[in-house]
Subunit: 327 residues, 2 copies
């Protein structure tokens, strides 16, 4: 039998949120142990009933586990076969805590590229007052968003205020995704839209269907003026083809916050790709207080559900590979 | 008597827009001469009736001038006493063509600062995969916009989609400025709001009232977490006080697209200011096609008015020093 114990493993967690978790747990007769790394948590996990945090290691060492709340939005890495021994372990994820921050990142890097701000920054580093680089605009652009969940919707909502010509969403089934998309199509129709896009934004979970979705063939059909932004999972893009397209000037630019292999080794040629705005997987950092607070909110909301014997709200569909909102 | 001649002096003007201007002028019996620089235009200006372009030199050499359409939004530099000999010369400005581009610039640099992207870019230049810098967000922020004309409204409209806590506008009289401001106050009440602002955005014309409006005293009251963005005129800020506040870490950051003296000399210490995101007055460049097209639209709209003997729509109030919308 597991003891009534919750193990929280989070690198970033402030005292106020620790107190919130401790107080809520105590109300239901649970004790909580906090760790900064999964490695430190291994011993405590052996008899934990509930775990909250990041990554597969947290789950692997939890034989008594009944509920794992992933602090991440994407749970591809914990759904690997056999990692969670019992299919009865409930898995939830923190969908809903990353929309705000990842949308702000996305709009920012897209505008940086369109307005050539990295080149202007280079001039400024050299103390050169130079103007007149060609600029582009979200205004009047056609934007394709692959992924229409919380993150995709948060991006679309902000984009719309910039008056793009069109914001098109792509998801598995083509189901509607709120008022900020001019249209939503199923991923089976992606080829009809990718060649017209001024910008392709990827914010999908990693699933069998999304791996390699921006394939070499599709990259080859992109406009010369197109931008690519990936804030989902690195596996969604055929990275070698994208890097080649960038280096050969076949597309205007790309902003990658996620890569096929992270972290990037210091001698990897990807660092020096032409017109690549690279960031080290920081679009959804919990160093943004709001993200951390929302993340803990989500865990605590389902802790109430769990203790009351109600269904968990943020439950991951193991077959789909992500949490789908029940409207 | 001036001949029926229009002189256009614009560094950036594509063939399509040249043709638009030539065709419209021809319909009203005008000839047009195009120049890339004001210096080249001097001779042609001597008997021009209408001039369209940038800067005071264009006006100084136009003794026969009846209408000067400034391609800029701010006309402070052409309102200098004596530069326009006759008060009967009508002056219009291209208010309305810069809102989109300057708003995109503003949102971009604000997010860059809040999310510490310049520091991440520095890591990437060194091939370092480092994370966990503290980030901030427009979401939940309190934002003060000094200037509520086309540019201020375009900024406010986009900001609102990011769900800030509050967007407050400041203008001369405190008159309302559309639905995207939570409140608008007169500049006489600025002191009541500047100390609470998470971000102060300046997008005002240069007038007697706006010179030095963000004074050393007001800079001293800013929060340690505050950001400043100036996309209006450099004269609005006591620059030395701002630079000192940045270097001493008394505010979080500033993004300056305009300076007291432009261009900045290569050896000026301002280049190396801590937490300063400097851009070389490029937030409103006509290298963005939309801006150029709108700018020409505005000239052509008033050309129709001028030729029909109607009042000019974009007329500058010489006393106010800017064009005020007639609602």
């Amino acid at each position: 039998m597991g003891s009534k114990k919750i193990v929280v493993s989070k690198a970033i967690l402030d005292d106020r949120n620790k107190e919130r978790i401790t107080a809520a747990a105590a109300r239901h007769g649970y004790t909580v142990e906090f760790f900064k790394t999964n490695k430190d948590a291994v011993e405590a996990l052996r008899d934990a009933e509930i775990a909250y945090g990041m990554g597969p290691k947290l789950v692997k060492h939890s034989p008594q586990l009944k509920w794992f709340c992933s602090a991440a939005a994407g749970v591809n890495n914990i759904l690997i076969d056999g990692l969670i021994a019992s299919p009865d372990v409930q898995i939830t994820c923190a969908t809903g805590s990353y929309g705000v921050t990842i949308a702000e990142h996305t709009i920012c890097v897209l505008l940086e590229m369109m307005r050539q701000l990295p080149t202007y920054a280079e001039y400024v580093r050299r103390h050169e007052w130079k103007q007149n680089l060609i600029q582009h605009s979200i205004y009047g652009s056609s934007i394709l968003i692959l992924g229409t969940g919380d993150i995709g919707q948060s991006i679309a909502r902000r984009l719309k205020a910039f008056e793009p010509a069109r914001v098109i969403g792509i998801n598995r089934s083509g189901r509607p995704a709120g008022p900020d998309f001019d249209a939503v199509y199923p991923s089976s129709q992606l080829d009809d839209h990718v060649a017209d896009a001024g910008c392709v934004i990827l914010c999908m979970p990693e699933t069998k269907e999304t791996i390699g979705i921006l394939s070499a063939e599709r990259i080859a059909t992109l406009k010369e003026t197109a931008y690519v932004v990936n804030v989902g999972r690195g596996s969604a893009i055929c990275q070698s083809a994208l890097i080649e397209a960038l280096n050969e000037g076949k597309i205007a630019g790309a902003a990658l916050d996620v890569l096929e292999h992270e972290p990037l080794e210091p001698d990897d040629p990807v660092w020096e790709t032409k017109n690549l705005l690279l960031t080290p997987h920081i679009s959804g950092q919990e160093t943004l207080q709001y993200t951390l607070d929302r993340n803990v909110d989500i865990f605590l909301e389902d802790l109430e559900n769990y203790c009351a014997g109600r269904p968990l709200k943020y439950l991951v569909d193991r077959k789909l590979g992500y949490q789908q909102k029940h409207d």
